[in-house]
């Protein structure tokens, strides 16, 4: 019995000490204390393999892609397009044509707003989002409101930070042109059960966009199983470089969409009279792309897959439970966002102490967390708070680091009385 338990544990448990050795940035002191990095929802750190892949590319293989017949250009093209295949496999898309490289989640959402929704949009047509959304899944639709008279409808959340499914069913209707939902909330950590929302949307014939920025670093994503039409995510939250992201779109939708930026690489032929656009996915990739970014992201995916997304999710869930238990025990601490299903994010307030002061004092203890509105001001308004402190964990964090967070919070209480 014991042996069986041990065996199960060792199959799932991570060798976190070994993992931490792969992340050079973690091994430093900040303000004289060993760094505790708990701001992963804002941006994760990178393993050596990603940093080295980018260096190696620039040291050995760099040239422009899709252009030259020379060796370096071919190598760069192979690496860039190879990265696309890695990403396709990672999210189980049907075809690499469905993987469009963009600058990040924000650009992916804007691309869908301008290229998918805007053409053919009638004033009064509706876009449905939830009250959990990051500004990146609010503002692009508001721009569309100004441009073409779109109506933005918002599915409410409850006190736990759970999106109201009943209200959603009332809000979706014949004028809904798109359902755009966060897969995981960045401010609260809520995992949205998107499958059941997608099912209803399909019954209404409404296409679905998922903002996967916070989901994809923490859980296995299968876009075909989800059945979403668009899935957007950022490389820098999943161990990859900044300025890099992915728009997944169903091929038949992407085929029908016009390009949204014009330039080199997105064309087949250009004369002053007529331009023939390139095929998918290059139609949406005007200009020289972030080649090193794509290579770095693919290397990050290799690293994540080597550990296994399921093991990452299981370990991070243990960290979440431990952090929730330890933080809840602190007097005057209130956790904001208590959905039953959460990613490893704990947003909280401390009675009588503003989050900004918490952030400063924790920093002097070497503990990095995010404080503020987390680019989700409507979420803050809902809870009637100006800001929260947010600790967000990754699989390279440890229980000891959560203990350090708790000690630093006790210290905060002492400093500010």
């Amino acid at each position: 019995m014991n042996a069986a338990v041990t065996a199960t544990r060792s199959a799932t448990a991570l060798d976190v000490a070994a993992i931490r050795r792969d992340f050079p940035i973690l091994h430093q002191t900040v303000n004289g204390k060993p760094l505790v990095y708990l701001d992963n929802a804002a941006s994760s750190q990178r393993p050596k393999s990603v940093i080295e892949a980018i260096s190696r590319y620039y040291e050995h293989d760099h040239a422009n892609v899709h252009r030259g017949v020379h060796t370096l250009s071919q190598r760069a093209t192979d690496a860039y397009e190879g990265a696309r295949e890695t990403i396709r496999r990672f999210i189980n898309a049907r075809d690499t044509k469905e993987i469009v490289f963009v600058r990040g989640t924000t650009e992916a959402v804007n691309l869908v707003a301008q290229s998918f929704l805007r053409p053919g949009f009638e004033p009064g047509d509706e876009i449905l989002i939830s009250a959990l959304e990051h500004h990146a899944n609010i503002v692009p639709w508001q721009l569309l409101r100004e441009q073409v008279g779109a109506v933005l409808k918002v599915i409410p959340i409850n006190e736990q930070g759970v999106v109201d499914f009943d209200e959603f069913q009332k809000l979706i209707g014949p004028r809904t042109k798109l359902l755009a939902l966060a897969h995981v909330s960045n401010a609260l950590g809520t995992i949205v059960p998107v499958e059941k929302f997608i099912k209803v949307a399909k019954q209404h014939g409404v296409p679905v966009l998922l903002d996967g920025a916070q989901a994809i670093p923490h859980t296995a994503v299968d876009v075909q199983a989800l059945g979403c039409d668009f899935y957007c995510f950022s490389s820098h939250k999943m161990l990859g470089p900044t300025g890099m992201g992915v728009l997944y779109g169903k091929r038949e939708l992407l085929e029908a969409m016009p390009p949204w930026q014009g330039g080199g690489d997105m064309i087949l032929s250009v004369s002053f009279e007529k331009t023939t656009f390139n095929q998918l996915p290059w139609k949406f990739e005007a200009g020289t792309p972030h080649i090193a970014g794509a290579i770095g992201l693919a290397t990050a995916i290799d690293y994540l897959e080597k550990i296994g997304m399921d093991r990452i999710a299981a370990y991070e869930n243990e960290l979440l439970e431990y952090a929730t238990e330890r933080l809840s025990a602190l007097p005057g601490l209130r956790i904001v966002g208590t959905a039953p299903d959460k990613a490893a994010v704990v947003s909280f307030t401390l009675d009588g102490i503003h989050p900004h002061d918490i952030g400063t004092i924790l920093d002097t203890e070497g503990v990095a967390i995010r404080t503020g509105h987390h680019c989700a001001m409507p979420v803050m308004d809902f809870f009637k708070i100006p800001a929260t402190a947010r600790a967000s964990m990754s699989f390279y964090n440890t229980r000891e680091e959560i203990d350090r967070l708790v000690t630093a919070l006790e210290h905060t209480r002492q400093v500010l009385g």
Binding site: N31, I353, H354, P355, H356, D357, T360, G372, P386, L416
Partner: protein, 148 residues
Amino acid sequence: MDLKDLYRDVIVDHNRHPRNFGKLQPADVHADGHNPLCGDRLTMYANLKGEHITDVKFEGSGCAISVASASLLTEAVKGKTKSEVKELFDDVHALLTQHDAAVDPARLGKLAALSGVREFPARVKCASLCWHTLNAALERAAEPVTTE
């Protein structure tokens, strides 16, 4: 960076027990200040007699630095003229941002407790929000009244 330089006893005290806190009614001038990055919101109220500030109060919510700074401000500007307040703001701004600021500590009085903020650049905006807000209120007072 020493935390005690930032959260000096004066700061902690003014955060816990802000002076001149609340609405001034009636108020000759008032303005709202908002620091969207951290969510600090303050309203500054003032009454004027000619160029002199006869009374000043504030309300709102924010971090310890922004609340203490506003509280210290109200104590410092009462009875001063608008141009004296402007000079004081210049001194405070220099104190918050420059290491070698040539500011006479005697002129600053208790406001000198804010000097630790310059070691924490991310917090300068917290300390200066109330000053910008008061400035906006006073400038508004200088604008000609329209009847539109």
